[in-house]
Amino acid sequence: MSASVLYDAPGPKAVVRNRVYAVVGSLAIVALLAVGVMRLADKGHLAPEMWDIFNYSGIRQNIADGVLATLKVFGLAAVGSLVLGVVLAVGRLSDHKPVRWLATAFIELFRSIPLLITIYAIWVGFLTDYSMWALATGLSVYNGCVQAEVLRAGINSVPKGQSEAAYALGMSKTQVMLGVLMPQAVRAMLPTIISQLVVTLKDTSLGYIILYPELLNTARLIASNTLVNGQYPYVSTIVVIGVIYVAMCLLLSALATWIEKRGRRAKTGIVMAGAAEPAEAPGVLDSPDGPPGPRTDAPKE
């Protein structure tokens, strides 16, 4: 249902009324922003000197290091979570009961515990001196569980004829899984997988709490170590770092949307999963209407 179904095409009176609402609404939003900016300016947070600190090569170097550290842990966590996701998904669909139970228990346990709790426990308990590895391990465990559920939804959405045909050809279970089901599942769920990677990227900021020097922690260090006009430049630093974060996440989201569009254009029987959004809630996959993945009434080419 498009939005326009909710209201008629505006007549002359409604056009005027909508314009009035538009002007009042925009004025209210602009006024709110202006008050915020003015309050900040009053307290000297928007003084040119506050922003001048980003011209220092030392601080630029710090930010570059922070971005690199974030990307490094993101890369580790992405690889780790995808590998773990494949293993857990295969385990959960295994024919052997103990394997299936083990995988299910692992997934359900770590999916329902806050990520921060897991990361902190790993950091304090096992990897105190290696905060990067603690962060990467925690992220891999949590996101691996989510990716496993996504992959499972993808595997279940592959038409049954595919695996039946593969078995009829005499392929082994491993061959069917790795050669037939997994590639189609990955292809179908790619947008969802990438949106979960966006969540992973966002969650690298938890490194702030276990003192891993990633981007957010760098921001805090910069802000609390630079004294400008007798104040710490928290506002300007947070704005700059925030823009970098949002840009990184938007880039990755754009990639997911692009892949989804490209997949829809391709003439295979596999339907791509719905528009990628960094869904905070992997539990959506448990909806009673079945997996949110590709619809089974795929148009056959």
Partner: protein, 215 residues
């Protein structure tokens, strides 16, 4: 076992803290989310743009960054010395409102076309259509995703613990600072969270069953 019994008052405070921050920020998220979903489908373009910008921006911001903004920038704009609990629930509520908004919007999209058309044809305005016809019917489809959004909110509230809000993660940190072994602490905290998340999913399952209608 000892770690829980010896520090039970702190654990109880932390558990109550987790529950209360979850409840307060759920209410904020629900109200804001429905409002912004209304903005996003409204006939007034600037409000639509505002809604889209709100959702895009908040959904692509790490929650930790949002907490940092709320603890260092917002007190400067409003007034200094706001309580961490208030700031934390605001940050969490605003962040979750973007997800609620998207859930409500897709719920609106599942209401059959004829409903809105019928409402319009008997002369209802946009606000009336939305309030009296569309949203009540959308509620049913929105409940399952809302349940998982609120569970995610409960899990995210752990981050508030790192920003000096009294809740379960704060207890975990306190215990590890006091030198207790992390594994039992982890298990107790995990159990605490499991109780809250199970309560939420049970509540929503109850709601779902009560709202069930044969169509």
């Amino acid at each position: 076992m000892n770690v829980l019994l010896d520090n039970f008052p702190e654990f109880r405070d932390g558990f109550i803290g987790t529950v209360s921050i979850t409840v307060v920020s759920s209410v904020i998220a629900l109200v804001l989310g429905v409002l912004i979903a209304g903005f996003r489908v409204s006939p007034v373009p600037p409000l639509r743009v505002f809604g889209t910008a709100w959702v895009t921006l908040l959904r692509n911001t790490p929650l930790t960054l949002l907490f940092l903004i709320f603890f260092f920038v917002v007190p400067e704009i409003l007034f200094p010395g706001m309580s961490p609990f208030l700031l934390g629930s605001l940050a969490l509520g605003l962040y979750t409102s973007s997800f609620v908004c998207e859930a409500v919007r897709s719920g609106i999209n599942t209401v059959p076309l004829g409903q809105a058309e019928a409402a319009r044809s008997i002369g209802m305005t946009f606000a009336q259509t939305l309030r009296m016809v569309i949203l009540p019917q959308a509620t049913r489809t929105v409940i399952p995703p809302l349940s998982s959004i609120f569970i995610a909110l409960t899990k995210n509230s752990a981050i508030a613990g790192a920003f000096s809000v009294t809740e379960l993660f704060g207890w975990q940190k306190l215990m590890s600072d006091r030198g207790y072994d992390i594994v039992p602490v982890f298990i107790w905290v995990a159990l605490g969270y499991l109780v809250v998340t199970f309560a939420i999913s049970g509540l929503f399952r109850l709601l779902e069953r009560r709202m069930e209608v044969a169509r």
